[in-house]
Symmetry: C2
Subunit: 374 residues, 2 copies
């Protein structure tokens, strides 16, 4: 299929996730330059794009090490030649055989978030290990004030065959509640202070420990990461309305947009219906201008898109339908079969729901299969 | 992979969507019997399972006609021999070529929700057409009180080559806001009254019109569908916590459960973390006992599951992580790598997110690919 944005003579038959490669490459170059200037390794998180093709853009930009969030993702990227992979999701014993297999072909690191997760597990070859530290998001990870338990754990890890403790890994996910650079900076500052203090407190037991941090808001808005060895942002390659609302990107930095055919107009209630539902966007929503929205429209511009059209809001999603609130004068100009473009609230989940991209030059980029696919 | 529910010696490496075939077959038999007793055609909606294998269970039970919600789904099931397909999603001109191709190999019906959607469209072979009527959900469809416009549309359709108007199609989606049989019955009663009156009012212009209705709550709880030719429920094959909350199924009728490895314990805040996030469950939530939940646990029972464990609640989802609220005495008994089973809030979206099933006898069932997959 080589369909692109609707013209009077050609219309989309179904939703299409458009990827503006130029915007994505610019996001990538900017982050590569930022990491280089700060003297930290960029170990990008590939959970956002889940695509060999996009991964190769990172390789061309000089990245050699990556982060993933599942074994299936690790295996998918290992199959494309990535040989330095960190699984930034808590290890448990059920992962053992697949981790072992991955570690036989690449430098592979796991993440520990529970002291009992390694119980009964033995590896036959070297595995790197990061301790997941909860710097305030309270999703998971060791609580940094529990120093006696952490010292005990670190000492025990030192005795384990084939396990090499690399350092402390954190994801300051609470930066997603921040709004604006000052608020993001406070999260970043507090996280680094917590991590640095903990590293110093553990260094007597553990020897030198590296620090690895990861959220896109913090990594997109800072020029220096004192004491940090590597950063692991992922979302920045595409960005989305959430990042824009936080203040970590501009609208023009959002590199994916969903092209949705209009299927019905309901002028009496100020709504359009598009093909574009929960199985395309996912159901992540955000508050915008007093409303819960699942996407905001952008103006189509030749083969791509330009400015925000905040008056066209995706306000409801069922499995295949999207409900768009629109002013009457806009509805008047639209016919079924026309295409509207929407920026997603959360590009990672939108990409995962769609399973592939089309670039603005018409190239189809595939993604890894869903884990249930045989 | 032949992994099933965790035992002391084998643990899951990643989430797995379990399908209890016995429960699904029982749901299917019950609906087939209900439709037969009521003298209506069962044209099940296949958007819930999206699987050739599950579709064949319907065929074995005597179903010959199906409903789908996208062209991709129509093509997927046509490829498995289904030859009487209704696309219960609004038609627009971008669909024309694929509809034409489908209609050449099967009896194919489209749905019209906007009078302008057929503008400029010509078909070369016979297409059936349903008018989508908004019976109160206000998602899309023609408003039944707009009789002059509907008469005009019906007259115009009568002049069109290759289009055969079949009747009025509705989805009383507002039944999902009902709680209990009496509330569901009110929605059903009002919908049927609206449809019957509209059919009578249009019959002078249109000739005989069939009625097709579709929601699982209404279809699961009624024994008679006066004046209706066919019913199109879909979700009933699996059911889910939403249907249970509405009152259209029992917990024991829910035929899918997600098996999730526990990855970390946080007893201080009464939480467990499981592998099972938005890319597995989707982000549909419901209110339960004053909380927003994404799933509720069930007790593992041999190779399947039994009763609800409402004290174990999935209260947060990020991409891969699920946050489970659990009592301290339960957390004490659990270790990383153990498996917990959760009933989903919305089985259609959960199945779509996972991309496949594993039956309790260890068989893997595949689903159609995501639309973005090349």
């Amino acid at each position: 299929m080589s369909e692109l944005i609707s013209t009077p003579t050609s219309a989309l038959s179904e939703p299409l996730l458009l990827l503006d490669e130029a915007r994505a490459q610019r996001n990538l170059e900017r982050m590569v330059a930022r990491a280089a200037a700060a003297g930290v390794r960029l170990r990008p998180h590939f959970k956002t794009h889940q695509s060999h093709a996009v991964g190769r853009w990172f390789r061309a930009a000089g990245c050699q090490a990556i982060t993933v969030s599942s074994l299936a993702m690790a295996e998918y990227f290992a199959a494309d030649g990535w040989s330095d992979i960190t699984l930034a999701f808590p290890f448990h014993r059920g992962m053992r055989d697949r981790v072992q297999a991955l570690a036989q072909r690449s430098s592979f690191a796991i993440t520990l978030a529970d002291p009992a997760a390694l119980g009964g597990v033995h590896f036959d070859n070297p595995i790197e290990l990061w301790l997941k530290i909860d710097v305030g998001s309270h999703r998971t990870g060791f609580e940094p004030d529990d120093l006696p338990a952490l010292r005990e754990l670190v000492a025990a890890l030192g005795q384990r065959e084939h396990i090499r403790l690399r350092g402390l890994l954190a994801h300051a996910g609470h930066s997603y509640a921040a709004r604006g650079p000052a608020a993001i900076a406070r999260v970043q500052h507090d996280s680094l202070q917590t991590l640095t203090a903990l590293r110093d407190a553990l260094s007597q037991t553990a020897g030198p420990l590296a620090l690895s941090i990861g959220d896109t808001p913090g990594c997109s808005t800072h020029d220096a990461f004192p004491g940090v060895e590597e950063i692991r942002p992922g979302n920045f390659i595409f960005n989305d309305l959430s990042q824009w609302q936080i203040g970590s990107c501009a609208i023009d930095d959002i590199a994916v947009a969903m092209a949705c055919p209009v299927v019905a107009r309901h002028p009496r209630r100020g709504q359009l219906v598009v093909h574009g539902g929960a199985v395309h966007f996912s159901k992540d929503a955000m508050d915008f201008d007093g409303q819960r929205v699942f996407g905001l429209a952008v103006a189509a511009d030749g083969r791509g898109w330009s400015t925000l059209r905040p008056e066209l809001r995706l306000v409801g999603l069922s499995q295949e339908h999207g409900i768009v609130q629109a002013p009457a004068e806009v509805i008047d100009t639209i016919r079924p079969g026309d295409t509207l473009l929407f920026l997603p609230v959360h590009s990672c989940l939108t990409a995962d729901a769609m399973g592939g991209y089309q670039t603005l030059t018409g190239e189809r980029l595939s993604m890894m299969a869903r884990i249930g696919a045989p």
